[in-house]
Each structure stands twice: as structure tokens, then as C-alpha cells.
């Protein structure tokens, strides 16, 4: 058995889970909802084994390193962290329906990685040969994942708020009736960002520490660094907006969605459109 077969199985399980979540929205059957969650967590378990196996495979090839070194590996890990953060929020706050808006992110990531990205295990370039790689990548991606979950919740918030604004009878909507109340969604959005913001902060700090250790500058306004700071500014604004009258609710939801858009640009856009120190799979 190879890690690549298991990654394919993961993608398939995330697809089934996404379909089950849509069915859950339509049928409101708690059994369908439970099976959607279980399929997602099963997929996460298979992916965990796949990541460990890929790690081992790189050692078998003679240049062992953590599977966090190129775009393929990072996208796969991103999908893993999204399900992890979603799992924590579901188990803690018991709002299963959120999965319908989060699983598609993980499915999209896995499908893109499996179909569109080069999946070969490459030896590490000198710039990445450091233990900081592990700390930096794990903290950043856990943060990104929490922001993905917050973005899914914010989309639910805006749909629900619009439906409640349109019809005077709040309980009318069929699918939307499944959603938690907007007050709960607003709170969940905040809670997800409360997980993401400290992790992003740690990700930026470990990145700065690594840069200082490897190049002698903790901050050089490289596009990747700058965009991570932009994301940090947006979520800092979100946190301050929470305690300011007139900025809660819809505006907070929009800030969360804009924050995630900036996160995705920081993660992918910078590599695709701008040049800098973070060319995944390439050298410096």
C-alpha cells in the first residue's frame, strides 16, 4: 500500500462526506448528518496514516523529511488541518450543519492536489533543511484552517441573515431552518477566529525566528511576510470590531470572509503572482 493510494481514498471519503452533508441539509435526518460527520473523520484518519506513510517513504528514498516541503504536500496538509479544526468545533459546540460549508474546502484542496499538482517526493533544498520548517508550517496551516472554518460559518451567517431579512417568518426556510441562529453563528465565527489568530501569530513569529536564524533578518517585507501581516491586520480589525458597536453581525461576517480571501492569497496568490522567498518546491 502506498501513501498515494491512501490520499486517493481520502479524497473519495471527503467527496462522499460532502454529498452526505448536502443530503443532510435537504433531508434534515440526524442519521444522515451523523454518517456525514463519521465519513469526514474516517477520511481524516486515512489521511493521517497517508501523511505518516509519505514521511516514511521519503526516508526509504534516502532523503527523509516531513511531508511539508512543496505545494502538493502543503495543500494536502491544509485539507487535513481544516477537518481537524472542524472536528474540534463540531465536538465542542455540536453544530454539525457547519460541516456542509467546511467540507467543500477540504474536498477542493484534496481534489486539486490529487488531480492537478505534482506529487513526487523531492529532496529538501538547503534553505528548507531546518527544524523550523515543521513548527512554522504546522502553526501557519492550523491558523489558515481555522480561518477557513470561520469563513464557512460567515457564509452561513450571511445566508441566514438575508433569509431572515427577506421573510418576516424566520422559521420558514427549509434548508436554512437547519442553520443555528445568527447569534450562534456570529459566536462560532468569533470562536473559530479565536483559534486561528493565536496560531497565525505563532506562525508569523516562528517564520521571523527562522528567517533571522537562516538569513539574519527577522523581517524583510518579502511579499509572503507582508501578506501574512495583512491577514493579521484584518483579523486584528475583526477582533476589535467585535467590541465596537455597529461593527458586529454582517460587517464582522464580511471581515471574516475578506480575511480568508487574504489568507488564500497569502498562501497561493503570492506564489502564483508575486516573487519571493517562499517558492514551494523550488529553491530560494
Amino acid at each position: 500500500m502506498t501513501s498515494s493510494m491512501l490520499f486517493n481514498a481520502t479524497t473519495f471519503l471527503f467527496l462522499i462526506s460532502t454529498i452526505l452533508f448536502i443530503a443532510f441539509l435537504a433531508t434534515r435526518s440526524s442519521q444522515v448528518g451523523l454518517s456525514a460527520s463519521i465519513t469526514a473523520f474516517l477520511g481524516w484518519g486515512v489521511e493521517t496514516v497517508a501523511i505518516i506513510l509519505r514521511w516514511k517513504e521519503s526516508y526509504d528514498m534516502g532523503h527523509g523529511h516531513a511531508p511539508l516541503s512543496n505545494l502538493y504536500e502543503s495543500v494536502v496538509f491544509f485539507a487535513w488541518t481544516i477537518i481537524l479544526i472542524y472536528g474540534i468545533i463540531e465536538l465542542k459546540y455540536k453544530y454539525r450543519v457547519v460541516g456542509a460549508f467546511v467540507l467543500p474546502f477540504a474536498l477542493f484542496g484534496m481534489a486539486w492536489a490529487q488531480l492537478g499538482l505534482h506529487s513526487g517526493i523531492e529532496p529538501l533544498v538547503p534553505a528548507l533543511q531546518s527544524n523550523w520548517l515543521l513548527y512554522h508550517v504546522i502553526t501557519c496551516f492550523l491558523g489558515y484552517a481555522a480561518f477557513a472554518v470561520a469563513c464557512g460559518i460567515s457564509i452561513m451567517y450571511l445566508i441566514k441573515a438575508k433569509a431572515e431579512g427577506d421573510s418576516s417568518d424566520a422559521s420558514a426556510g427549509g434548508v436554512i431552518g437547519m442553520f443555528p441562529s445568527i447569534r450562534v453563528l456570529d459566536d462560532l465565527n468569533y470562536k473559530a477566529i479565536m483559534i486561528g489568530f493565536p496560531l497565525l501569530t505563532l506562525g508569523i513569529v516562528t517564520g521571523a525566528a527562522w528567517a533571522n536564524y537562516a538569513w539574519g533578518t527577522y523581517w524583510s517585507w518579502d511579499p509572503k511576510e507582508t501578506w501574512s501581516l495583512i491577514v493579521w491586520f484584518v483579523y486584528a480589525a475583526f477582533l476589535h470590531a467585535r467590541i465596537t458597536r455597529g461593527w458586529v453581525g454582517k460587517r464582522a461576517a464580511w471581515l471574516s470572509i475578506i480575511g480568508f480571501a487574504a489568507t488564500i492569497f497569502c498562501y497561493l496568490g503570492v506564489n502564483l503572482f508575486l516573487s519571493g522567498l517562499h517558492s514551494y518546491g523550488g529553491g530560494r
Binding site: 501569530t201 521571523a208 537562516a214 480589525a237 476589535h240
Partner: protein, 452 residues
């Protein structure tokens, strides 16, 4: 006049204390920061200049877009944010500090009504013994209680993590500490660069603006090497460095290997492996030449850029060379040279000769067999040089920020009171964060209290 002046100062103060200003500044910083990721910073590549018009270039230059993170207006935004967070903290800290240092020990009716969690119960029997029992109960559940007698009622108060309310201000302070660290670095530190040819030493490094900085010691590069993976991708760039004081090697700083991600620090100045290249001058290539089908081998030393005339009249010249050919041709290893051979009356032919693979030359055919012995070509190592006395201040600021965020996000100030008077008691509780979780905790307290 004086009232309007005071009005102005007050409204200025209010302006700087406002959270809306914080939000506007944070979003403003986020938006303006984008410019520097799209417009090149520092040295502008000529290809970029061709893509923008003269007028646009002048406009960008006047707005300092090519060095925007150090421009006056970006600095102004950062200073405004600093003033804003200092003002906000000054305004709000005293109230929070009072809450932490002088907790409300007494639960009066007004406070009781404002609490989300209350529970009323009967106290029968000996009141003094009951008070001790309740005190012991709270001590076991939450921490050391404080008892206050007021207006004939007994108030038992206990709290957990009161200082976590200061978390926000710790984060604000940490941002200022990081700024201070950055300022120390920019005033008392520098970033520079130096190239050292193998076997030589230098005592002067150069900043980005080519300004020389003299060190009070010298650094010698004993050797530089590159190793490769089987795929031809570089595996390791390694300089062997020795620190010299007055021309003598310093103990403990002799023949130190410096690789990417593992620098050398001496007297607060750190050297980072950054680049390398061929020193070029004085390189010599060594060959053994013989006629195919037998004959004595003739040794040939060839300088870079020179052509040698062989006994048969042909001209031999080295076009380019490498110490390890694997990066260009992963199937081969070792030194190799691309040579040009011009036999009399023929067009020049160029081919590669390998030190480790004479069989390739065997297959080439032709009049002369060229055995490549290698070159005594020297490499130079390119080192990034940095001195930053403010870096530890920055790290303290970062640590403080992480601690502050944990305090502010993940810790809750929980308070519980029990008031006993006239055979009845009321327990009330409140938390600064996560009311749902505290409600559960309060319910479990009530359950335990019932069994007491």
C-alpha cells in the same frame, strides 16, 4: 478661549482613544501594505521600468512607492496605531486594574441582579459552622476565599485568574516592545554582505549601499564546497570559516562549517551562507594528451582564457568548467570542462571532458585523446553579515505577545460569591469569558452544594 482649547484637547484625546480609529488604522495598514507586494521595492529591475510610463514612475517615486515600508506615510500609520493603542490602554487600564487589584468582595442586591448565575438555598443549624463549611467548599472548588461581614450579612468571595483581564494590555505592550526592538536594530545594527575567496581572509564587509564597514577581526574562508543529491539538485552549500584576531586564529572559532540554516556568530556579528561563485582569476586546468592508438602522454597546463597549440597543430581552449557536473548532467559526477578543439583546416568542435568519466572521451573518436585532470580553480563564498542588538528585544516582545494572547483568549476571570444572612444564602457567579462553559461549571457547583 481656554474652554475651546480644552474642548480641542479633549476631542483629540477622544479621537485617539476610539476603537473605530483602531479598526480604520488596521484596515488602512492592510490595504496600503499591498502596494509594496505589487510594486518592486529597493532595486527596481529594468524590465519593470519598461512596463510603466514616465508619469507613473514619477508619481510612484513622489509617493515613495519603491520603498513604501519606510515611507513617511506608512511610518505615520504605524505611529498613529502606536499612539492609538497607548491611548486606549491608558483610558481603559485603570478600571481593569482596579477590578484586578481591588476585587468586589461583597455581593449586594444590585450586583446579584446583574449576575446570570444565582442559586438560593437554606442554611439551617449552627450558622458559624455552616459558614466554615461553605468556606471550605469554595476553597476546595476554586481557591482561597475572602470573608467580609457587612450590614449583618456574611459574604464569602473567591475568584480565579483575575490577571487574565490584563491580557489585552500585555498584547498592546508587546507591540510597543517589538517596535522598540526594531528601532534599536535600525539604529545600532546593520545588514551587509561579503565575498571571500577560498584561502583568503577579509576584515571589511559592505552594506547594500556599498558602504564599507570595518570589523575589528577578520574572517578566513578555508574551503567552500557544494554537494548534490542524485537528482542533481543541490544538497548542501558549505563554507569552512576561521575567525582571525591580529592575523591569529581564535580558539574555538577555527575551521567552523557554515551551511544554510546554520550560521557562525562572533562578537555579536553573524555570518550566513548565502551564495557562491568562481573566483575566476588565476585558475588553471590540467590535461594529459596523447595520440589515439598509442604514444607518450603529454601534460598540459592551460590558463583560463588562453588557447594552447597541440603538437599536431590543433588549438585547445576551455570554454567553461565546473567542480561538479551533476547539477547540469545528473548522470555524471565530478569535475568537468567544456573545451573547444580546432584542428588545422577544420571547423572548431566543442565537447565536454570529464575527470571521472574517461570512457566518454574514449567514445568520442578523433585524433587526440584528452584526459581531464581537473582544475585548481578557486571558489568564493558569499556571506550575509548581520548585526542586530535589538533582536532580543523583538523576541521578548513576541513572547509577551503570545503570552498576552493566551491570557486574553483562553483564560477567563471567574468570580463566585456566597452571601449568608438570617438562615438563607445566595450563591452568585460570573465569568469574563465563555458564559456557556461557566454556566455548566456553576451548575455543577450547585449540584455539589446540594449534597453538602
Amino acid at each position: 478661549m481656554s474652554t475651546s482649547k480644552r474642548g480641542f484637547v479633549e476631542s483629540l484625546w477622544e479621537f485617539f482613544c476610539s476603537l473605530k480609529l483602531s479598526i480604520v488604522l488596521l484596515i488602512g495598514l492592510a490595504l496600503t501594505s499591498i502596494i509594496g507586494t505589487v510594486v518592486p521595492q529597493g532595486n527596481i529591475p529594468p524590465e519593470y521600468l519598461q512596463t510603466i510610463s514616465e508619469a507613473k514612475f514619477k508619481l510612484y517615486q513622489s509617493l515613495s512607492f519603491f520603498d513604501m515600508y519606510h515611507s513617511w506615510w506608512f511610518m505615520l500609520l504605524l505611529y498613529l496605531l502606536t499612539v492609538n493603542l497607548v491611548a486606549c490602554s491608558i483610558k481603559r487600564l485603570p478600571r481593569v486594574w482596579k477590578m484586578v487589584s481591588e476585587p468586589q468582595l461583597v455581593m449586594e442586591d444590585g450586583l446579584e441582579k446583574s449576575l446570570a448565575n444565582t442559586y438560593e438555598f437554606k442554611v439551617s443549624g449552627d450558622e458559624a459552622a455552616q459558614k466554615e463549611k461553605l468556606k471550605g467548599f469554595l476553597r476546595a472548588e476554586m481557591g482561597e476565599p475572602v470573608v467580609t461581614e457587612k450590614d449583618g450579612a456574611t459574604h464569602i468571595f473567591v475568584q480565579k485568574n483575575p490577571w487574565c483581564r490584563l491580557g489585552v494590555y500585555v498584547v498592546h505592550l508587546s507591540i510597543i516592545v517589538i517596535f522598540v526592538g526594531a528601532l534599536i536594530g535600525s539604529f545600532f545594527g546593520y545588514k551587509a554582505f561579503v565575498n571571500i575567496v577560498e584561502g583568503t581572509s577579509v576584515d571589511t564587509v559592505f552594506t547594500q549601499k556599498e558602504k564599507p564597514i570595518k570589523l575589528d577581526f577578520a574572517v578566513m574562508c578555508e574551503n567552500f564546497s557544494v554537494s548534490y543529491y542524485n537528482t542533481g539538485a543541490p544538497k548542501e552549500f558549505k563554507s569552512i570559516l576561521t575567525v582571525l584576531e591580529n592575523g591569529q586564529p581564535v580558539k574555538g572559532y577555527e575551521k567552523i562549517p557554515v551551511i544554510v540554516n546554520d550560521p557562525l556568530t562572533y562578537k555579536g556579528i553573524t555570518f550566513y551562507q548565502s551564495s557562491y561563485g568562481q573566483a575566476g582569476e588565476g585558475a588553471a586546468y590540467h590535461f594529459n594528451l596523447r595520440r589515439r592508438g598509442g604514444g607518450e602522454a603529454v601534460h598540459l597546463d592551460l590558463k583560463k582564457g588562453e588557447a594552447a597549440t597541440l603538437p599536431n597543430g590543433a588549438k585547445l581552449e576551455v570554454l567553461e568548467s565546473t567542480q561538479d557536473v551533476r547539477q547540469f548532467m545528473p548522470e555524471f559526477s565530478g569535475p568537468a570542462a567544456k573545451v573547444s578543439l580546432t584542428s588545422p583546416g577544420k571547423a572548431p568542435e566543442s565537447f565536454v571532458v570529464f575527470k571521472n568519466h574517461p570512457e566518454i572521451e574514449e567514445q568520442r573518436g578523433g585524433d587526440v585523446f584528452i584526459q581531464y585532470l581537473g582544475a585548481d580553480e578557486k571558489l568564493y563564498t558569499g556571506l550575509q553579515v548581520a548585526k542586530d542588538p535589538g533582536v532580543w528585544v523583538v523576541w521578548s516582545g513576541c513572547a509577551l505577545m503570545v503570552i498576552g494572547i493566551i491570557m486574553a483568549f483562553f483564560m477567563s476571570h471567574n468570580r463566585v460569591w456566597i452571601r449568608i444572612s438570617g438562615g438563607r444564602a445566595v450563591m452568585g457567579g460570573t465569568a469574563s469569558k465563555n458564559p456557556a462553559a461557566f454556566e455548566q461549571k456553576f451548575e455543577s457547583l450547585v449540584e455539589k452544594l446540594k449534597k453538602l
